[in-house]
Symmetry: C2
Subunit: 480 residues, 2 copies
């Protein structure tokens, strides 16, 4: 196990420095590599395969709910970006500007899309005329650019990959229903594919998307007690439609403005996986999105029959739809154990000459290092069971961490005591609805409002800050 | 059929104006919509679904040949673009330049990738150290930007979608083998998925990719006799490796430069499909990439049992993996016939009360409008047979068009006569290898060199232009 220790020693421990632990993992597990452009990264094969698995699952969920994929241009003319007042104020300070095509100066600057509401609106205004043209339920998988000052791989980068859903409906009711439906799709995806519990809620006024009537979000709690916004869904009312002159003739033959939504999740979810499930041995991947679900490590692989058996098992498991890799490299078994722990492979299968003789092998689950000797006759079933165990184990652990770090407080002192004594986490506390109090809670405790959870509790009748009548229970926290 | 005629009348005929016929189709079949940024288009759901089907097939072919997907940033710093001399000369005149991030001027301009060799090279120089790190077989699905003056949907746009494969190998032999292998993958894809015959060959020196040692291409002949470059594969030697300082320690413990390739196909292939298979009734789609492979048109759909039957057949066919749509809208059957002919759906199924009574339905194949009455008992098998027939029929028709329009010539006069009398096409003629003759043939006939076909024929010993000793048979043609 000397090799094993050596590998592990290469990662900073979570306790010692969580931020460094995080960047160690993204590099050492070969998820990304830096480039000479600040805030832009190479997503390497192992990282990109995680994203591809996410895409496959989400894309099916979108299509099953009636959405179609499209592709908008990446450029937005300055005048188009400016059409909706709040939207341009929110995004103009952080866009990248194209001024020249080849050696010629452009007549009008173009920005690289930071998000595509304006492009979809221009398109809608061209193709929507009658109630028969509604709804349009669109999505696109692209990258967007926001010129962030401080950047971190996956969590905040100048270019990132995402999907952006954009829909347009005849009525406000339909659009609101869509906004909520897609937030639920995201929450289900986080639970079922990423083993990540989330709090569903509504953003406060000050925290809405630029141009939205209301923004819904899912908020996850990371291992270190900081909150991470994992996905958002926006209801726009008819504000964009009015700004862009999108009108349709209703069944009543009258011209009216349609209602819109947009919703998105990004490669940030890879960061969320790392900080939700990872440990001091590296990445821990939820089976649904793991590029390799099971790695086979042959023991004494030079002995006759061992590698043959390893490849036979691989073929058998792959036939059952499991993503398998055999590592038959010259590295020691100990080195391989550490390597695939670092890469977060959910299940490891060890098989050597004696195991083959006995018709069995050893399965080790990554998240708890539990070893089970299983018969080769029932292997497929056992592996599927183990993958389910890993998923459930990860979800349970993440939920326990969140519950342990969720504090219900009725005063600023209680909030500060909880955060100081027990560490960062979600703070549930009542709020009067005034922005001044929202700001003050953040100033006094460091915890900003994450969302107004849909699941409301009545912790008190009074705002935790001003003592006036409370309107909502807010989930507060320090955020990534 | 009044409706039908009306729809059809909306498209310009191919004979009358091929270019207008083309743009009519891309608009009327709802493949694209223009935007306010010249040369940038919205790819609409029906067009994007064709691309998604292409991606699915190609991505599997790439993965089956050992390639992994990655994602590079979209920005290239000016200094990075300039590292390889030929490459920057080829691309700098047509890139879009970012000069500002938000309100701040950038210290160094960034261009939006026109292609990503330089980014891959920078990455390789970070991750390749030993022969153990080779080869890397990478691919990415992204969009790129080239500031073209004249633009046409799919064929030449300022932003287009593509895949770019980038590989790096220990030896020149391996890299050359890769370059050829991927050209064959493209040719197989065109034949088996797009029903499109292509000529495989090598580009002449003057027509190589900027920075390449050699460029291979597949060339297809469109319905109007013009050539379309459908895919390219480049061998770089170690030129980029030297320019970017990429070195590895070989098994002999000596430092050496690796050898590289890149290869790509783009959304241009959608344009190729239109111009290879389309007719005066609209688009004709090869079944493998058609978003809808079979459309069910219920006849007298208000009669009891008709729609139920239509949906029952849909479910049955979908279970067999066929992509099916039922159009149960209020439009007339005639309107629907014209609509799905316009959209190029390979097979139409008509079913009405009498058909149901007789336990049969009518299948109509798009490319030849052939009607077959088939028993519902054997429907799945019959539909699969029809889809195969459409594919084979399309391929045969395209091949016949190409053969009819391929002229073997031994003099400039013969070339001009052939092109004038029989119309544009591929001209096969011998060449001495001198750029001056290449230019002169183009000047005198309008047909430039498309490629030096791998399948060489000895038409004469003399160059068609200067009469000196011929080195190669060249495929000449007017190009998109």
């Amino acid at each position: 196990m000397a090799d094993n220790k050596k590998m592990v020693a290469e990662i900073t421990s979570m306790e010692e420095d969580f931020a460094k632990w995080y960047t160690d993992i993204v590099k050492k597990a070969e998820l990304i590599e830096y480039t000479s452009v600040k805030g832009c990264m190479v997503i390497r094969p192992y990282g990109y395969a995680i994203w591809e698995n996410m895409q496959k699952i989400l894309d099916k969920m979108f299509k099953d709910t009636g959405h179609e994929n499209v592709c908008m241009p990446m450029f937005i003319p300055e005048s188009l970006l400016q059409k909706e007042k709040d939207h341009v104020e929110g995004f103009a300070p952080e866009v990248a500007w194209i001024t020249h095509g080849g050696s010629e100066k452009l007549e009008e600057r173009l920005c690289v899309r930071p998000t595509s509401e304006t492009l979809f609106c221009e398109h809608y205004s061209n193709i929507i005329h009658s109630w028969r043209d509604l709804p349009k339920l669109y999505n696109q998988w692209v990258s967007v650019v926001r010129w962030e000052k401080t950047t971190r791989p996956f969590l905040r980068s100048r270019e990132f990959l995402w999907q952006e859903g954009h829909t347009i409906h005849a009525t406000a009711e339909e659009a609101i229903e869509e906004t909520e439906k897609m937030l639920n799709v995201y929450a289900d995806f986080c639970r079922d594919a990423l083993a990540m519990p989330v709090v569903k809620g509504k953003k406060t006024e000050s925290d809405k998307f630029a141009g939205a009537v209301s923004t819904y979000a899912i908020e996850a709690l990371m291992h270190d007690g900081k909150a991470l916004q994992a996905g958002t869904s926006h209801y726009f009312g008819d504000g964009f439609a009015k700004a862009f002159g999108i009108q349709y003739t209703g069944k009543d033959n009258k011209l009216q403005n349609p209602h819109q939504t947009s919703w998105g999740v990004t490669t940030r979810l890879i960061g969320a996986i790392i900080m939700t499930h990872g440990d001091d041995n590296g990445l821990v991947l939820p089976p649904a999105v793991a590029p390799i679900q099971l790695v086979i490590i042959p023991i004494a692989q030079h002995k006759p029959g061992v590698l043959d058996k390893a490849y036979e098992l691989k073929a058998k498991l792959e036939k059952a739809g499991i993503r398998v890799k055999v590592d038959d490299s010259e590295n020691s078994a100990g080195w391989k154990f550490a390597e695939y722990e670092m890469k977060g492979v959910p299940v490891r299968l060890e098989i050597g000459p004696r195991d083959i003789e006995n018709g069995e092998c050893v399965l080790v689950t990554r998240h708890n290092r539990e070893k089970t000797v299983v018969s080769l006759d029932t292997l497929t079933r056992q592996v599927k069971k183990k993958l389910k165990e890993v998923h459930n184990g990860l979800y349970k652990k993440a939920l326990e961490n969140r519950e342990k770090r969720t504090y219900r407080c009725t005063s600023i002192d209680e909030i500060n005591n909880a955060l100081n004594e027990k560490g960062d986490g979600f703070v549930y506390a009542m709020w009067c609805g005034e922005e001044a109090c929202e700001d003050k809670v953040k100033e006094l405790t460091g915890a900003g409002s994450r969302c107004i959870p849909f699941d409301q509790e009545n912790l008190s009748d009074k705002c935790v800050c001003c003592g006036k009548e409370a309107k909502h229970m807010v989930c507060w926290g320090k955020a990534y």
